[in-house]
Amino acid sequence: MSTSSLPRAPHHDVAPSDETALTSAKPESNDLVLEVKDFSVDYGWGERAVRAVRNVDLDVHRSQVLGIAGESGSGKSTLVYAVTRLLRSPAVITGGDARLFLEADKDIGSDARTLDLLGASERELRSIRWSQVSIVLQSALNALNPVLRISAEFDEVLRTHRRDMNRHQRRARAVELLELVGLNEDRLARFPHELSGGQRQRIMIALALALDPQLVIMDEPTTALDVVTQREIIGELRDLRARFGFAMIFITHDLALLVEIADEIAVMYAGTIVERAPAASLHDAPRHPYTLGLLNSSPPLHGEHRELVGIPGSPPDLAQSLVGCSFRARCPYALERCAREAPPLVGIEDGGRMVACWLHDGSPTNLPEPLRRKASPTARDDLAPRAAKEVRS
């Protein structure tokens, strides 16, 4: 499967791959934080290797919230963990390219530079970990070391990356960070098991922001929480993003939730991106049958209730070599062509959105009615303030 027809960003050849991983270059004429090209990840080797991520392109702009949605096993977490080099054996990155574009950082006195994540040494990776790219995991109870006080978690991060801070400064910073997420400083003396799920997740968020990173990865940060806490945390995240301007990759299977926070959403299925579009357009007017199915299977956050419909069948076995479209067996609109050729991810509607589906090959007569809906231009403006207000009240 190839996505070569994807329009390439103009900066792609600025940092040739034969240069060293750390390239002190002038700030480039783009606002990208992360750029991933033709990225593939396998679990295991040889014949039985599971092709968990296949030829994915992805880019994240500064201060952008990119949502990645998909069901379990769609490769959304694998993709992000592989890009940040956090995956362990037997996961193998079998191809592609991932670059991190770092702004000059006054705090640590570094220049703007480009880091080739796949070529970077252990030391280079350590230097950007948490200080530039931090991560919030699904279960904060498991992500916080059970035998350490909360203060130790903050202290450790600051001591590792901000060598010049003394004990009092580190403490003050921890208190400041807790205030950001609405927690009292007395939480610092607690152990993880003494806190509620919402408090733990807020602490994880505060911890992720400790070093002012340029990119924060949220791996289903609200999945383990109740709906009310979920909404509160989403609201807080949105405020924090507006205030500090970090970019975010937000991974979840909850498409309705994603619409609340993401600027843009990429939908993954069976290890590939099948659709990518601005959040509101994707929500109001899905173009891929799988996106449509996902939307129909989750309750809407706003508006009247409607009947929920699941997607029949189950995802394909990624250990088998796939011919044609991976969604075809579950797709109500599958064409004869879908069995032979895998559809590439191509720009449609003036390139504003991308979809990998043969239904969008240019002849609108093919298009089933649900995939033809128009996105209301004000959808996003309409949605955002209302959600924010609800969170505050």
């Binding site: 350590r126 200080s131 931090s134 995991l137 916080l144 059970p146 035998v147 450790e156 098991h193 003494e194």
Partner: protein, 326 residues
């Protein structure tokens, strides 16, 4: 803290039960234990020995059971455990000369074995599947070989034949025990072979336990977080090891409880002057006061070790502290 006090009172009750059992058991035997003992001595008994036997089981035969019991408790409070029949010396002073040897030898070996095993287990767990895994069958082999066989073979080869290590006893017979450099040096030289064999035969347990816990911990999210935080590898391993070591620490405390009693084979093979040897002699000679005294000391050490395990867990794992808070 409240929880710790509650545990402490529980241990006091347990100790009292153990002491009482130690008092009652000989009295539950058919016949009069004192007369049985005197009978076994077949008339070759001095008034001193009769008195010793009486002391061992209470103050005298003319008291009732309750009086005897409180007499026995009173004697215990003063550290008086009666007089050994075969050695004609107070049990407490016999124990006082035997216990330090055993505690020294087995204590050092146990702690050394724990440290080596835990450290090796940490590395094995972290680098699972590497060539270092071949350490596992090797150490398990030494644990599987019966100790007296391993000890004897090692003693024969490295002691008697190669003369790399001194054999028999705890120190050179030319020296008098005391805090001189020569004596301490001799103590260490004579202790080397027993310590090495004990560590060799017990290290696999610590190593495997720690390795398996590490493998579980390495898969935990907080270890992934430690990597994501950009911590140096040493600190990442510490995150995992700090949690993985908890069961081992509890086991160590319990192993320390067996330090006083668990040395019979070692002491026999290396002819080491400790509690194990003493107990064997006492049992062979049916020296009831001595047996009773040794059992009491063993019971108390095991209890103390259990308490230590509780305290250690309390300190190391905050999750065990919240009982009262919930």
């Amino acid at each position: 803290m409240r929880m710790l006090l509650r545990r402490l009172s529980l241990y006091l009750v347990t100790a009292w039960v153990a002491i009482t059992a130690n008092f009652i058991l000989p009295r539950l035997m058919p016949g009069n234990p004192v007369e049985t003992l005197i009978g076994q001595l077949q008339g070759r008994v001095t008034p001193q020995q009769v008195r010793a036997i009486q002391l061992a089981f209470g103050m005298g035969l003319k008291q009732n059971l309750v009086q005897q019991y409180f007499g026995y408790l009173g004697q215990l409070m003063h550290g008086n455990l009666g007089v050994s029949i075969t050695l004609s010396a107070p049990v407490s002073s016999i124990l006082r000369s035997a216990v330090p040897w055993t505690v020294g030898l087995i204590g050092v070996s146990t702690i050394l074995s724990f440290l080596v095993g835990t450290l090796a287990g940490t590395m094995l767990g972290w680098t699972r599947g590497s060539r270092f895994d071949s350490l596992i069958p090797l150490t398990t082999f030494f644990q599987a070989v019966p100790y007296f066989f391993l000890g004897t073979v090692v003693l024969l080869i490295f002691g008697s034949n190669l003369h790399w290590f001194p054999v028999l006893g705890a120190y050179s017979s030319n020296l008098n025990p005391g805090w001189s450099w020569a004596f301490v040096f001799s103590l260490i030289r004579y202790g080397e072979l027993p310590v090495i064999t004990i560590v060799l035969s017990s290290v696999a347990g610590w190593m495997l336990g720690m390795r398996n816990m590490m493998i579980t911990m390495v898969a935990e999210d907080f270890v992934l977080m430690a990597v994501a935080k950009g911590l140096p590898r040493r600190k990442v391993i510490m995150h995992a090891a700090r949690n993985a070591v908890l069961p081992s620490v509890a086991n160590l405390s319990l192993a320390i409880g067996l330090v006083v009693s668990g040395a019979l084979l070692v002491e026999l093979v290396f002819n080491y002057p400790g509690v194990g040897n003493l107990l064997l002699q006492a049992v062979l000679n049916e020296d009831y006061p001595l047996i009773q005294g040794i059992f009491l000391v063993i019971t108390m050490t095991v209890l103390a070790a259990n308490l230590l395990a509780d305290v250690m867990y309390f300190i190391l794992d905050p999750r065990t502290r919240t009982e009262a808070a919930i």
